[in-house]
Amino acid sequence: MTEMPTGWSDTEPDATAEVLHVDVDGYEGPLDLLLDLARRQKVDLGAISILALAEQYLAFIATIRERRIEVAADYLVMAAWLAYLKSRLMVPQAPGDEEPSGEMLAAMLQFRLKRLEAMRLSAAKLLERPRLGINVYPRGMPEALQISRKSIWEASYYELLKAYSTQRERNSIVEYRPAARTVWSLQDARDTLRRLIGDSAEWIAMDEYLAEYLGRADERATVRASSFASSLELVRQGEIELRQSETFGPIYLRRRHSGPT
């Protein structure tokens, strides 16, 4: 459902317009659209032609659908119902037909339009009343007064429900927290390797050097990966030598001595 604009003036159609160029999104539902179309008949709602109204609505929806593919489903259902109403109005009631007559359905639609309009007018009349804080004022400097002698704490029902809803909502969100992982930086790995290899000219397997760090399962991968990458870097810099005798076999390291051995 598309979001409806809710300002007061945004749905006032241009009464002088010959062509209906009203966006369906500007209406608050099919009944609102029908009421607007009914007003265009410029007669009292009691004297309105429901048949003509149904036809206008159907024509309007058809135009909208030509231009835009999306028309909210409830407008379409109303269109279907109005088409049904139209057929009931045009075909005389057959004897034995149990369904409400077209006239009855039309009267109910008229009733609903009148009621909606009545509520609109009432809402407008309410707004014209002398409103507190706008037209009429309370005491500007209230003086401390113990109003309720029973409860010194105040909370409204709304606040109570709001508090409950908010916290249930807050705690219903399952937090995904990625596990913080220890990562050996290349710098760390290089420093460690340098320290461990020291001056040793013996071929010693990398895993042996790193034995004390490989004990923890969650760190094993990062220790191996960073150390291996660093060892390549150290080889490139000519500091150490590297040897592996078979695929996946242990990697041996030793300090490189100046001058070939």
Binding site: T6, G7, G29, D32, L116, E143
Partner: protein
């Protein structure tokens, strides 16, 4: 003796006046009573005070079961302050408020039936937050839906003594426009938006009316 009586009464009136002046919120009889002597005729005292202030710049007004001093309505243009409402009510909220006020107690489904559209999220919430609408209880029908009604703060805000003062109430009643209960066979299948999916087809012309009714609840 009569002098003594009038002195006591005078004092009660002064206390009542002080209490009502001191509070910016309307006070109920139950809230006032403890401050007056036992047996004080509170309604009569309130009426006397109301009459005393009726022509003054400040009036004593009734709001539901509560009483408060408010500036006189006819002075509104003079006193009207520069700043407008901080958050003007949306059309949806205003209509919902009017429907609740005139039809109460009303359930959400009934509000939606009158408007022909689903009540947007936040509309009732906003009206309750403003303190104008409250959940009243539950309707004794299947599903026991929550019923909504207006508050005394609503009366206070719109300057109404009681719900009977709602503008045009009698005419609406007379015109039968406040009877929300329609015979179920005559209910127009006004769908509540969101209850029909985009991938649903509308009913074909000539489809049965009652079946269309059901769609409403799908």
């Amino acid at each position: 003796m009569s002098n003594r009586f009038s002195e006591v009464r005078q004092r009660q009136l002064r206390i009542l006046e002080a209490l009502l002046f001191a509070s910016s919120e309307p006070l109920s009889l139950a809230q006032i009573a403890p401050y007056l002597s036992v047996g004080a005729d509170l309604p009569a005292l309130l009426e006397e005070l109301r009459r005393h202030y009726s022509l003054r710049g400040v009036n004593l007004v009734r709001r539901g079961d509560r009483w408060a001093f408010r500036t006189a309505e006819d002075l509104e243009f003079l006193l009207r302050r520069e700043e407008e409402e901080t958050r003007p009510l949306s059309r949806a909220a205003l209509e919902t408020l009017a429907i609740i006020a005139y039809h109460q107690p009303s359930t959400r489904a009934e509000i939606e039936e009158v408007r022909g559209v689903a009540t947007g999220k936040g509309t009732l919430d906003l009206l309750m937050e403003a303190g104008w609408v409250r959940m009243r209880g539950r309707r004794r029908t299947p599903g026991r839906p929550v019923t909504y009604g207006t508050t005394d703060a609503f009366l206070d805000h719109f300057g109404l003594e009681g719900l009977g003062d709602l503008p045009g109430l009698e005419e609406l009643k007379g015109a039968g426009l406040l009877s929300s209960r329609l015979p179920s066979t005559l209910q127009i299948p006004l769908p509540f938006s969101g209850e029909l999916r985009e991938d649903e087809d509308p009913l074909a012309p000539g489809d049965a009316g009652e079946a269309a009714d059901e769609l409403d609840r799908d």
